[in-house]
């Protein structure tokens, strides 16, 4: 029978199929961070269990860590406790760990691919919903809760039912100024935040194949914002080139054998999907969200929608609430909204390619007066690479802050936070109420668009700056 990429990776990891269809699914890679693991290790300890495969597990700290002045340690007591607890746990259970002061430290979803830990054809899990990022390599990667973290630590498996297959095909070539972030925001705007529920999305089509790995990761990263369990992209030459030479990837003859297997993974031409969505790349513009849900998105040339035009009562009430929280009026032009803060970073857009895109816009310009603009590399290695290319100087000369790697202002969990009422242009993935700090107002957009907002002091169409 013809199979999809998802079917193939799934089938290769089924340990046992139970009578009711639930599968014991083998997990190849388990990424662990400080926020969702303490209770899992505690559970292991209480039950006298060990970590079944430390050699398939890796731990890193990212959510809680400060992004300046690292040598001084973590000031907030509760953050420090989570980090110290992780360090105690990895030592006690023999789990490989990248420490805070290591150059390779960074956001778990940046360093998985970067270190060659995440590879095509694998099952990859992490106690974090944006694990979907790693699906860009052609792996099945999804977020799990803390009970499941404990389950994987103890058994290296999960009890799962197969998801349904969804094909989101983006065909054609991307217009000037349109990036992977705009593609995925357009997809979410089109199918909604529950559009992928119960499904694994495979992104296909020439516009997806034409993306580099960084762009593919940006797209897969936000699959969860479309409600999908995971996002995947078929591995191809771009993928293999990316993997080649990564520290923990196979090398030499082993790599050739791995590639031979990976070549068998793309969906069969006759494979059937439960749901198909087609998007014409040529119709996508630089996108920006206006509300507190990622589906509340519009092209930068658009305006804030009018709740009075929404027929469904619950939807209208939701939109009114969003506009109130975001302090927006129906009909306001998006490109006229002044911003207070610009955040460039996160597992969605914290890779070197993203920093290059931001620096290209910032070069020779200045951050607008009164705007605070942060650039936070996704990992220590991204930071080092950017510095080797002189991008840090381009950005700091323009007035951006250049910081240490971590989740930073993507979520209000470390010192980098919005204050109530601040409006932020952010390259992260969630614009929920209070996500970047209580009362903060988030507009999601691409790195180039974020840089354009920084230098103009408002949401701006990056295509106009480039002209």
């Amino acid at each position: 029978m013809a199979k999809t990429l998802f079917d193939k990776v799934w089938d290769a990891h089924v340990v046992e199929r139970l009578p009711d269809g639930t599968c014991v699914l083998y997990i190849d890679r388990h990424l662990v961070h400080e926020v969702t693991s303490p209770q899992a290790f505690e559970g292991l300890r209480a039950a006298g269990r060990r970590v079944r495969r430390p050699d398939a597990t890796i731990a890193v700290v990212d959510h809680n860590v400060p992004t300046t002045d690292r040598q001084a340690g973590i000031k907030e007591a509760d953050s420090r406790l989570q980090v110290e607890t992780l360090e105690r746990n990895v030592a006690a259970f023999g789990v490989p760990y990248i420490p805070l002061l290591d150059d390779r430290q960074g956001i778990v979803h940046i360093i998985g691919p970067e270190e060659g830990i995440s590879l095509p054809g694998m099952t990859i899990v992490c106690g974090d919903s944006h694990t979907s990022t790693h699906g860009a390599l052609g792996s099945l990667a999804f977020g799990i809760g803390t009970s499941e973290v404990e389950h994987v630590l103890a058994t290296q498996t999960l009890l799962q039912r197969p998801a349904k297959n969804m094909n989101v095909a983006v065909e054609g070539s991307l217009p000037f100024g349109v990036t992977a972030k705009d593609i995925v925001l357009a997809i979410i705007g089109h199918i909604g935040t529950a559009g992928g529920t119960g499904h694994v999305i495979e992104y296909t089509g020439s516009a997806i194949r034409g993306l580099d790995m960084a762009g593919r990761m940006t797209v897969c990263n936000m699959s969860i914002e479309a409600g999908a369990r995971a996002g995947m992209i078929a591995p191809d030459e771009t993928t293999f080139e990316y993997v080649r030479g990564r520290p923990m990837a196979p090398k030499g003859e082993a790599l050739e054998r791995a590639i031979a297997w990976w070549r068998t993974l793309p969906s069969d031409p006759a494979a059937a999907y439960d749901k198909l969505v087609q998007i014409d790349a040529a119709t996508i513009a630089p996108m920006v969200t206006w509300g507190t849900s990622p589906e509340a998105v519009a092209p930068i040339t658009g305006a804030v929608p009018d709740p009075r035009e929404v027929a469904d009562e619950a939807k209208r009430a939701q939109m009114e609430r969003m506009l109130e929280y975001m302090a927006l009026r129906p009909g306001q032009k998006l490109a006229e909204l002044a911003v207070d803060v610009v955040f460039i970073g996160s597992c969605t857009n914290g890779r070197i390619e993203d920093i290059r895109a931001a620096a290209a816009v910032a070069r020779g310009r200045k951050v607008a007066p009164g705007v605070r603009a942060l650039v936070v590399p996704g990992s220590g290695l991204v930071k080092r690479q950017a510095e080797a290319e002189g991008l840090d100087r381009v950005l700091t000369e323009a007035g951006f802050e250049w910081r240490e790697a971590g989740c930073s202002m993507c979520l209000g969990m470390n010192p980098d936070k919005l204050t109530p009422g601040q409006r932020c242009a952010s390259t992260s993935n969630r614009n929920f109420e209070g996500r970047q700090g209580p009362g903060g107002r988030t507009h999601l957009l691409s790195p180039a668009m974020a840089a354009a907002a920084a230098v103009t002091g408002r949401l701006a169409d990056v295509r106009e700056l480039a002209r």
Partner: protein, 208 residues
């Protein structure tokens, strides 16, 4: 895990769609290394004002809903992050059952792991239950997991679907790990086989 069999309790109406995990428990409260104690921060931004005082208009700040064990909500409940702190916060507050037209996948999964029953029912029925719930203490709802029924205050029984495997685990309060370890031999065999067939995949090692 506490088994879930039958529950008769006050149901709190929360007529909102897309209640995300940041609403259920904002990220700033995730810095705990324990499972308990999150109940006071459940729905923190909806429940308290900037000074930390209760907002009287929010349902869980009103009698009898302070003791609600059932929550009725609109579409896509629990969307957002994978944080299990969301079901922990619900549970710590006392909520054992959430009824909504549909749920986000990870949240749905996490509920079962913590002895919370998520019940999916069509929107038209949710609208009726929402009206029931607004009647407060005189309007207790019963959830009978064995029979797979929600019993309205007027006695009407509404059937709901649930995965039989998950139903069994909930009814018996069984731990997933014990369940899985019954397949230990199969896991060993799978590992041995893939070690041969996919020997090209190295183990993880962080070089100094």
């Amino acid at each position: 895990m506490k088994p879930f069999t039958k529950l008769t309790a006050v149901a709190a109406p929360l007529p909102m769609a897309n209640v995300d995990t940041d609403k259920i428990i904002p990220a700033r409260f995730l810095k705990t290394i324990e499972r308990s104690g999150l109940g006071v921060h459940l729905f923190d931004t909806l429940r308290y004002d900037a000074n930390g005082s209760e907002r009287p208009g929010f349902v869980l700040n009103q009698e009898p809903y302070r003791n609600a064990q059932i929550l009725i909500a609109h579409e896509n409940f629990g969307c957002g992050s994978s944080r299990e702190h969301a079901p922990w916060a619900l549970l710590d507050f006392g909520i054992r059952c959430v009824i909504a037209p549909d749920f986000a996948d990870i949240f749905h999964n996490n509920c079962f792991k913590n002895g919370i029953l998520p019940v999916r029912l069509p929107r038209a029925i949710i609208d009726q239950l929402m009206e029931d719930a607004k009647l407060g203490a005189n309007s207790r709802v019963t959830i009978d997991l064995e029979a797979q029924e929600v019993v309205r205050p007027n006695g009407e029984r509404i059937h709901f679907e649930i995965d039989p495997f998950r139903k069994k685990l909930l009814l018996e309060g069984l731990d997933d790990i014990d369940q899985t370890l019954q397949h230990a031999a199969a896991i060993d065999a799978y590992e041995a086989k893939t070690k041969r067939e996919r020997s090209f995949i190295p183990g993880i090692e962080v070089c100094p």
